[in-house]
Symmetry: C2
Subunit: 348 residues, 2 copies
DNA sequence: TATTAGCACTCGTTTCTATGGAGTGCTAAC
DNA sequence: GTTAGCACTCCATAGAAACGAGTGCTAATA
């Protein structure tokens, strides 16, 4: 345990303050600490130490003559140095989810819901983005005289389709040619590898049907492109109403709205997607990129369903959050999801 | 205006009470009515009439010595007989939405959001269900050695795909045969028309690949089957917090949760889907099928994007709701959406 | 007979005050 | 360096008081 500005005793006192505050939610006074710890110090001594801790910015007083509560800096110190790994039981749930649901989106929605039930905080799960993914194959088919269906499948087995209007009917032979052209040119390529040269060549070879190519390429970009449109599953947003420090109408409303406008949540997640960051990420108060969450803490972790198929699980609650419990839950879920696509599964 | 138990004067007084209550949200007293109307009656007379109205169940007193507020029966009478159509301006918005978004789901999400902004109530939009719809075509393609992709397109241009695992590779010729088999047997059929006989014949002809046929049929059922999995777009759920009669933590939490668990909302909508009910549907208080909404009113209307492609727009707010404004909004949006698929559109 | 004025009464809302208690900071003693 | 003691601050709570909106009823009036 590193101690530049805090000696052993201050750390123990800080620890005691935070743990007590996490439990009770009430500002904690010197007398409480005097007993709660085995330091055998009088409340007066504790008071002196507390004054120091306050000056150092680890704790603060809501008002004169109230006890102390942890500051953001205090929470940060706690999370970084003081917290113990408990690895408590969060067991039975994991199998349950994964057995009983077939489609990935259902699994993720379930995960969000369960996590919310388990923790009593608001939760979010982002659908995996297939960022570094490659085109597996493309299929154009007739729908009717004026419409063509384009289906794109990526290495991650993500399927996307788009109906493309055409000015005049396309005969079977042309369709076959277009299919061959698209597949021979694009299969195996990642988004980054499809450059202007490729596109130009494609269009040239497609002749009068180059507009279809454009449309297909748009869809490809949409399918594999960066995160602009990450799906986000949320649950337990009404949990905000349970915590007095968040439940005032104004704040709660903002928070719940943020969860409703799911896209805003994506910014909590970029950290995980870009980097090789597989650990648990914690934002405390103003550390969070989302302004409305300045009174919250956010804990996230990345999962990886399969090679390069990554998403994030996250939780948002009051700063006074049971960090250990939350982290244990996240770890367990991460473990359940990691490699899910590679493992053999029951149905489908 | 029919009057079995209410004479002209009582109706006018009831009307005045309700309108006033809708505006102010406060229980309304006899003196207020005595001036608000042009009846030129003293407050004492009004009081007598009010006592009658209360006995008849149209209004009630929150407590002795408070004014009166409308009962469910009162609201119902108001909605059925007293309300005037205002057809106020709700104009500019409609084009905006439809121009600026391409995909149907985005449009619907936008509609929900706009409606919430416009009305300050919680809103829901159900994605159209293609109930009476027919198969347009089916396409099987190779994904890799162990997987086949099935794409199903319906008359409503709904596209659904599913990846089907196969025990051993399927050669091109077989695939072609299966495609022809499926399309020649199923195209143009509605779900109800695909009966056991058809299925048996299909499987027989498919021989060793009959398991693929099963899988495809499952997907067909899923695509066109009844509403079990209607998508619901919601917005403005935090608006519940704005109305004192709903914003107590318990109630608001239940309501917002109901909107989060979108599936529950489907029951508000069945009315529209089964019947040929194109009008506006109003549930007041306990009339609603959803228990948590006993203190709310619900107003819904069906839209029809194209032949048989129907969904619902709905709004949930306090019973003290501006019904006229809400209905106007719904009407305008319905009009914008109706027939949207048939109309030529800008992009896509 | 229908309407109205008047009055006593009810009950929720707001404001103010008093009281208690938890907790602090400081000082002086150990 | 630690502790006991004390004065002080400030929030939370409860009660009391004052207020006011509104009612129901009765008796007078048109």
């Amino acid at each position: 345990m590193d101690d530049f500005e805090l000696d052993e005793r201050k750390i123990r006192i800080l620890n005691a303050i935070i743990r007590n505050y996490l439990e009770t939610g009430e500002p904690v006074g010197s007398r409480t600490i005097s007993k709660y710890t085995d330091l055998n110090l009088s409340s007066a001594t504790i008071r002196n130490e507390m004054a120091d801790l306050e000056e150092l910015g680890y704790i603060l007083q809501p008002h004169t003559s109230a006890g102390r509560i942890p500051s953001d800096k205090g929470y940060r110190f706690y999370v970084d140095h003081l917290m113990e790994e408990k690895n408590r039981e969060v067991a039975e749930m994991k199998q349950f989810v994964i057995e009983h649901t077939e489609r990935v989106d259902q699994v993720l929605q379930q995960v969000a819901k369960m996590l919310a039930n388990n923790t009593n905080y608001a939760t979010m799960v982002t659908a995996p983005s297939y960022h570094q993914n490659k085109v597996k194959f493309i299929q154009l088919s007739h729908v009717d005289a004026e419409q063509v269906l384009a289906v794109i499948v990526t290495e991650g087995n993500l399927v996307k389709n788009k109906i493309i209007p055409v000015s005049e009917p396309i005969d079977n032979e042309t369709m076959l040619k277009l299919n061959i052209l698209l597949n021979s040119s694009l299969n195996g390529l990642a988004l980054q590898e499809i450059n202007l040269a490729t596109i130009a060549r494609l269009k040239e070879q497609a002749g009068i049907h180059s507009d279809i190519i454009s449309n297909v390429l748009d869809t490809v970009a949409e399918t594999m492109g960066p995160d602009e449109d990450i799906r986000v599953y949320t649950s337990g947003t009404t949990n905000f109403l349970k915590y007095p420090e968040l439940s005032d109408s104004e704040k709660a409303s903002e928070l719940i709205s943020t969860f409703e406008e799911k896209q805003q949540l994506v910014s909590l997640v970029t950290e995980h997607l870009s980097e090789e960051n597989t650990g648990i990420q914690v934002y405390i108060g103003d550390e969070s990129p989302i302004q409305t969450m300045r009174d919250c803490s956010v804990v996230t972790v990345a999962y990886e369903l399969g090679e390069g198929v990554r998403g994030t699980i996250g939780i948002v609650g009051p700063k006074r959050m049971d960090y250990e419990m939350v982290m244990d839950n996240l770890k367990v879920l991460k473990k359940s999801l990691d490699g899910m696509l590679d493992r053999p599964r029951g149905k489908t």
